[in-house]
Amino acid sequence: MDDVKKAIVTRELTSLYGEQAVAIKALPDGKVLFKIVDVPLPLGCTPENTDVLLVYENGVDMPQVLVRQGIHLKSGESPRSTNPMSVDGEPWMSFSANFPFDLTKPVTHFVIGKLGRFAQPS
């Protein structure tokens, strides 16, 4: 991920979530991680906020969006089609969410759209 791409993604994330909420880490395999703390989940979820990790693979525009484990939906159930995983030594969770990635829109649009999955009943 080059400096320009890093700057664009950072600017988009900090403009919505604030500078203090966003941390960036570069991994030796070329991945770049953007961690955003305390991102609001859809109403009714517990907890109300979660941390979000965007994982950019080298040369790939669309990031993988991960959240912290332990989210419960408004119904009280755990979301289905999730997969716990470890990234850079920390526990995260991938989840299935059908939301298209649009390069012409800020990445925050994609993040919010993906997190909308947790508004579903199961």
């Binding site: 991920m1 320009v4 700057a7 900090t14 960036i24 570069a26 030796p28 070329g30 080298n58």
Partner: protein
């Protein structure tokens, strides 16, 4: 290393660490570079009436591994209370005995025995091929700031009035340290020329400038203090003239060659800090390996842009750069992802000698100036340590669109071939 050496042992022996070492040799100075430090475990010490002793198998294993890497072996211990440490007669005799087998298994050496003393003192002996046994007169600890043992001798009020305002910030001592420091700049284009201009005016004692390029109409506007009449001249010549006109106290060494060249390597080996202002992954790869081998901190800058299609009024979508401080022992450019074999192969088509520069992205002096100025601040900090009490980010990113700076985190990759294969190896051996 010092903490390890000062830990008490059960048997009351002095603690010892073994090091696998390289040699960074120039006509004016030989430096031992440490590749790996191996503490001797407590259970391996033996009591001896003559002082510290340990299982000889350990030395055999460490020195054998070193020899396979074409490295030498160094024994380090501490005389913690001595302000002027030297090897005792017993220490010296031990070293000379140890040299016999070491010179057989690793005839290229170097080999050494040093002792750390109180404060910032160090002493000892080293065996250098073709030079024999020579005294060890100092040490440098590569950190931010760089620590020099014994401390730098800066004469009082040594600097000229031209630095009076600067000394209000960095002090007489800081100015004196700059005067003794040697800084290398590789790449003298839009970024490097501004770095050169600033470090010359700041009063670095010696500036080594490395670039094989000449001034042309297409690059002159971005080169600091470049005149129309400089067209056709080498960029190194322009830098030398900046020093002559602005600060004749500064010695400039011009290497009108592409790095790495023999002259460039010899000149840069003596630098306290190198600032990399190059535009290719291949050049960066050469520089990080060189810096790691000779344990020289490297400040790397870069800037990139993204523009809209021609014909639009608002053309600039993004302009961003970085200022990364690479300290040997920390993450390298491969650890941070700035470099990868894939990127280098794409750049060169698999033929390193055919390295192509970047695709000539747009540039403007004012944006270059931001990253260049930040790099100079880091270089001054590395040498003088004047910025106290702040954990400075090592990997700074600049977003020219929002005029903001942010830092990224990175860790050393335990499997990085550059960090494990090049760190502290010194001069390559054939």
């Amino acid at each position: 290393m010092r903490r390890e050496l000062e830990r008490p042992t059960e048997r009351g022996c002095e603690r010892v660490v073994l090091c696998q070492i390289g040699l960074s040799s120039t006509p004016v100075r030989d430096a031992i570079t440490i590749h790996r430090v191996i503490p001797i475990q407590p259970e391996s010490y033996r009591w001896s009436p003559q002082g510290s002793a340990w299982d000889p198998k350990i030395t055999a294993i460490v020195s054998g591994e070193a020899a396979e890497l074409r490295l030498g072996t160094m024994v380090v211990h501490s005389h913690g209370h001595s302000p002027n440490p030297t090897l005792s007669p017993i220490d010296r005799a031990s070293f000379e005995r140890l040299l016999v087998p070491l010179k057989i298994i690793a005839p290229d050496g170097p080999h050494a025995s040093i002792v750390l003393g109180a404060g910032q003192s160090v002493g000892g002996l080293a065996w250098i091929p073709d030079k024999g046994i020579v005294p060890v007169v100092g040490a440098m600890w590569i950190d931010s700031p760089i620590r020099v043992w014994p401390g730098r001798k800066v004469p009082p009020r040594a600097s000229a009035p031209v630095y009076d305002r600067q000394k209000l910030l960095i002090g007489e001592y800081g100015q004196g340290v700059l005067k003794q420091a040697r800084l290398g700049i590789v790449g003298l284009g839009g970024g490097g020329s501004i770095v050169a201009q600033q470090v010359i005016r700041a009063g670095f004692g010696t500036v080594v400038s490395v670039d094989n390029d000449i001034v042309e109409d297409t690059n002159r506007s971005r080169m600091a203090e470049c005149r129309i009449s400089d067209t056709g001249k080498s960029k190194t010549e322009v830098i030398a003239r900046i020093a002559t006109d602005a600060n004749p106290e500064v010695k400039t060494i011009s290497i009108k060659e592409r790095f790495p060249s023999e002259r460039g390597i010899d000149a840069l080996k003596l630098c306290d800090v190198i600032v990399a202002c190059v535009d290719s992954f291949t050049s960066r790869s050469e520089l990080i390996r060189f810096s790691w081998r000779h344990l020289i901190p490297l400040v790397d800058i870069g800037i990139g842009t993204q523009v809209e299609e021609p014909g639009t009024v608002k053309r600039l979508r993004a302009i961003a750069g970085h200022v990364h401080v690479y300290l040997p022992g920390g993450p390298c450019m491969f650890c941070t992802g700035l470099l990868s074999q894939e990127k280098i192969e794409i750049e060169t088509g698999g033929r390193p000698e055919y390295a192509r520069g970047t695709r000539n992205p747009g540039q403007m002096m004012s944006f270059n100036g931001v990253v260049s100025s930040l790099a100079v601040i880091e270089a001054i900090q590395l040498v003088t340590g004047v910025l106290i009490g702040v954990n400075r980010p090592r990997f700074l990113q600049y977003d020219g669109m929002s005029s903001s700076l942010y830092s990224i985190d990175a860790e050393r990759d335990p499997s990085c071939p550059v960090c494990s294969g090049e760190l502290g190896m010194g001069d390559p051996k054939w």
